[in-house]
């Protein structure tokens, strides 16, 4: 299940030295919201991780496989009824000696932080 253009669409992107950010729109009509949970739509935490992975793949123009997550912290729930847009930003993209890629990801809207993650991809 690809989440781009199902759960979210990209509105804009900004790239600076050491920091890349995507502004995305969340689609409240995404069918999975009816299953997670009936009458109480909440963006599955695991889909926030996959959204970050899909955006990073787009940024780097290559396929990635999640290998390790030091930490994924869900600070606040992303309800599609309350959150229309999010900014997913990537900082400290680092190539490790074993060839894996380490990155810090923040999912926020202005001052409101929803998720922060430290991920390593193969």
């Amino acid at each position: 299940m690809k989440l781009q253009d199902n759960l979210f669409t990209i509105i804009s992107q900004e790239h600076q030295e050491g920091l890349s950010a995507f502004r995305v729109k969340i689609h409240p009509e995404w069918p999975i919201y009816k299953a997670h949970f009936p009458g109480h739509p909440i963006t599955p935490g695991v889909c926030i991780v996959q959204m970050a992975q899909e955006l990073l793949q787009l940024l780097l123009q290559r396929e990635l496989v999640l290998r390790y997550a030091k930490n994924i912290k869900y600070v606040a729930i992303v309800s599609p009824e309350e959150v229309a847009e999010l900014t997913v930003s990537f900082a400290k993209i680092e190539q490790l000696p074993d060839g894996n890629l380490k990155v810090q990801v923040m999912v926020a809207d202005g001052d409101m932080l929803y998720t922060k993650m430290s991920l390593t991809f193969a």
């Binding site: 299953a35 009936p38 935490g45 999640l66 869900y74």
Partner: protein
């Protein structure tokens, strides 16, 4: 022993977002769930269960445990659950289509509505992933 339990009675999630098939073990500190990776699984991509599906399966193994406790031990309703934190997730490999994975969660700590577990995902004897997970329980789920 638990195979006659319909997991939909223990979980707030509904198909197609159900990532556990059976509760295979339950005791005071530990429980296990299994999942066979089928091609129609929403997280099955290119013949493998995507990492998001694997993490969701681990989280729902916890959810099934909490649901079993709520329904059969304290006899209350099924509550919504959320992942609070994933720590030290290590994915050795992703499960392949047709494989059955079994996840065992061991409770490390329970503080009010937050449960901290250690999880091990296996295919047979092979460990394919490990993690620590914090699950927070919310309000009672609506019928769906």
């Amino acid at each position: 022993m638990f195979t006659n339990i319909n997991l939909l009675e223990l979980l707030p999630q509904r198909p197609p977002f159900v990532m556990v098939d059976c509760l295979t073990d339950y005791n005071e500190t530990q429980s296990s769930c299994s999942l066979t990776v089928r091609p129609d699984n929403v997280f099955c991509d290119d013949g493998r269960l995507a990492s998001a599906g694997l993490i969701e399966h681990i989280a729902q193994t916890c959810a099934a445990r909490l649901g079993y406790y709520n329904k059969y031990v304290v006899k209350t309703g099924i509550r919504l659950g959320f992942i609070g934190e994933v720590k030290d997730l290590d994915i050795v490999r992703l499960p392949r289509e047709g494989e059955t994975i079994e996840t065992t969660v061991t409770v490390v700590q329970e503080i009010f509505d937050v449960t901290l577990v250690k999880a091990v995902v296996r295919v047979g004897e092979e460990t394919i992933a490990t993690t620590n997970l914090k699950i927070a329980q919310g309000e009672e789920a609506k019928e769906g």
